[in-house]
Amino acid sequence: MYRIETQNLRMELEVVPVESLLLHERILPHVAGRLILEFKNWASLQNPIIIDRNNIVLDGNHRAFVFRELKIRTIAVCRIDYFEKEAQLRYWYRVFGGAENLHLLREVVEDLDGSFQEVPDRQILERRLGEDPFLCGVQMKDRYAVFSFADKQACDAAAVYDCLETVQTRLLREGMRLEYVPCHYVRETASPRPSKDGEMVIWTPRITKEMVVDCARQKKLFAPKSTRHLIPARPLHVNVPTQWFREDIPMEEINRRFRDFLRGKELRHIGPGQVIDGRYYEEKLFVFYDRRGGT
């Protein structure tokens, strides 16, 4: 095991059997398809997936799924304490382009035996969502509404997200375009993402860490793009050859090799809010890299 420890942070990097991982979210077929092509062609595993103490995958569901599909035996992980305050759980809102009004959404929700109600303003929308964990919100320019699904269909958070997926499919069939946006881009920042003409934003229900753990343990999966985990720190660029994970060798041996491999690299601690390889990271980063001319 390779450990990264700071004053208030502990991350354990190791290799674990793929079969031991518990997924908590369904995958998007096109993303999985692209990753299958990559890993089939021996791409390196750039970044370890993030798991909790119970082997629940918090970040890297697609990679874990693809490794399982390709019958790759093991995978590099970074284990964190999920219930640490700094590990935050957020979710993805759905943004539909090409919406003319709220009628179609109301129709689809009501077809699913759900209820739909317009509310006067954003404050009331936020209050209503705070009162009912399974309620969804919708915003279109200055119009706001809440909707929910019948109890028999939406008995838990994962089921509500399943219902939402059905709604999504109907809206897409009607010619709308779908984009996923982090919830705090709409709700929490100082300059919220501006609402464009013909754009309808669905505020998805809040998910808690307990819900994620329960679902994963029961082998229930949330719909794709439900959870969005912000972890306290992220190790990047371990760049392990995939071949290692295919080899039929004892776990102790592969872990020893992995640890030595990481020890041979340089490690740089980078604060949150930086861009590496074109991606913005809100978390602290620990970036592995090879010093030029080094071993």
């Binding site: 601690h269 604060g271 809010g273 602290k284």
Partner: protein, 414 residues
């Protein structure tokens, strides 16, 4: 055969026509000459060629050679000038020490004359001179040979070169022109990464200090008027921590709204777009707070961006502390080295743009360092861009004029 008097220079100029180079070089070959250097140019329908030819292997008298070469005048319609030299009189290419000088700014009479006079005073030879842009905006690229630069007593050869560069920069500043001087070896090396010091180049605000002053003045948000930090502290870790401390207690949401005050230089996004389209990787380094940089990242997309993040408590209130490690002037060099390691790049493959003060000292040790609108120069850079147009740096990358016009969307506009 002895090489005495058997080296020929041939210059020919006149109206352009297809086949001229083929005609002249074939004739030289048939006469037994060996072309050891050539430069040919066509401009606005006019043609010129300059050749150095070794006739030591030719089995005919030199008078006959000169006569045959001059006879081409009637056959081609070009004006021919032939010179005869001994081999020893012609300098070997190995003695050459090439540099590329790019001068750019508002077009005005006398720029070429004054620049060339200064180079002459230093005994620097101008080998080629080409206009990259002409119109309201003027850009000229000179290829110079400093192999025989005048070395004053008490100066080293390197010192003489540095003196010439300083004088050239001073002259260009007086002429309201920007100038970049690059070693030809480095100029020819493919550059891969462009790194910008954000506060001094990409954001209209000249420094973090003036941003803070504006917040204080315009919004009255920082509660007590505190004295400005002394200059030497502005770019230091101490100064940065002090800035953060002054923000304690302010809701982050309120503070982020001040991002609206910051205006990216008008051409910034355009420049990044062009550089990316040319295959460059882009890095932004800032000793300011992260939303300075995030604004550019969100609008233009870059490969690397490093800045400082303010810590907030659970209620989103700024605690007055910063996330570590801090990024200040002194640590930017380290970050740049880290990016180079990540990208497996050598310093000569990097272009760095800052304002030339000690705060952007990290730009000095790369392939091409450019000081953009320097208020005061504390470090040595290859060039100085004094115009407001940061896209002018594109003229220093050896891009052919027409290609550059296409990239800048100027084609057909003038």
């Amino acid at each position: 055969m002895s090489q005495e008097g058997r080296m020929i220079t041939l210059s020919a100029a006149g109206l352009d026509a297809p086949g001229l180079v083929s005609f002249i070089t074939t004739r030289i070959y048939e006469m037994g000459g060996n072309i050891i250097d050539v430069e040919e140019n066509c401009r606005r329908g006019l043609f010129s060629i300059f050749l150095i030819v070794d006739f030591s292997g030719a089995g005919r008298p030199m008078e006959e050679v000169v006569e045959l070469l001059n006879a081409m005048e009637a056959e081609t319609g070009l004006k021919m000038v032939v010179g005869v030299y001994d081999a020893e009189e012609i300098r070997c290419a190995e003695e050459r020490e090439g540099h590329v000088v790019t001068v750019l700014g508002e077009d005005r009479p006398g720029v070429i004359a004054k620049v060339s006079t200064l180079l002459h005073q230093h005994n620097v030879n101008i080998e080629t001179c080409r206009m990259i842009a002409r119109g309201q905006f003027f850009s000229m690229e000179l290829s110079i040979d400093t192999g025989r630069i005048r070395v004053e007593p008490g100066l080293s050869r390197h010192g003489a070169l540095e003196l010439m560069k300083i004088e050239l920069k001073d002259l260009c500043r007086d002429l309201n022109q920007s100038v970049v001087i690059q070693s030809e070896d480095l100029y020819r090396k493919g550059k891969k990464l462009v790194v910008f010091d954000v506060e001094s180049t990409l954001i209209g605000e000249s420094s973090l200090e003036s941003f803070m002053t504006r917040i204080q003045a315009e919004k009255g948000l920082v509660r007590d008027k505190e004295p400005d930090l002394p200059g030497e502290k502005r770019e230091s870790m101490e100064g940065l921590v002090e800035h953060a401390r002054r923000l304690k207690g302010i809701p982050m949401k309120e503070f982020e709204r001040f991002g609206e005050i910051l205006q990216a230089n008008a051409e910034t996004l355009e420049l990044i777009r062009i550089l990316k389209s040319m295959g460059f990787k882009i890095a932004l380094l800032s000793s300011g707070f992260s939303f300075f940089v995030k604004k550019i990242f969100e609008a233009a997309g870059v490969d690397y961006a490093f800045s400082n993040t303010l810590k907030v408590d659970e209620e989103g209130i700024i605690t007055g502390e910063l996330e570590e490690p801090l990024i200040v002037g002194a640590t930017k060099g380290e970050i740049l080295r880290f990016i180079m390691e990540m990208e497996n790049l050598l310093p000569e493959q990097v272009i760095a743009v800052g304002n030339g003060t000690i705060g952007s000292h990290f730009i000095a040790d790369v392939g091409l360092s450019i000081a953009f609108r320097p208020e005061r120069m504390s470090i040595k850079t290859d060039g100085v861009l004094s115009s407001d147009q940061i896209t002018a740096m594109l003229y220093c990358l050896g891009i052919p004029g027409r290609e550059l016009e296409k990239l800048l969307g100027k084609e057909g506009k003038e």
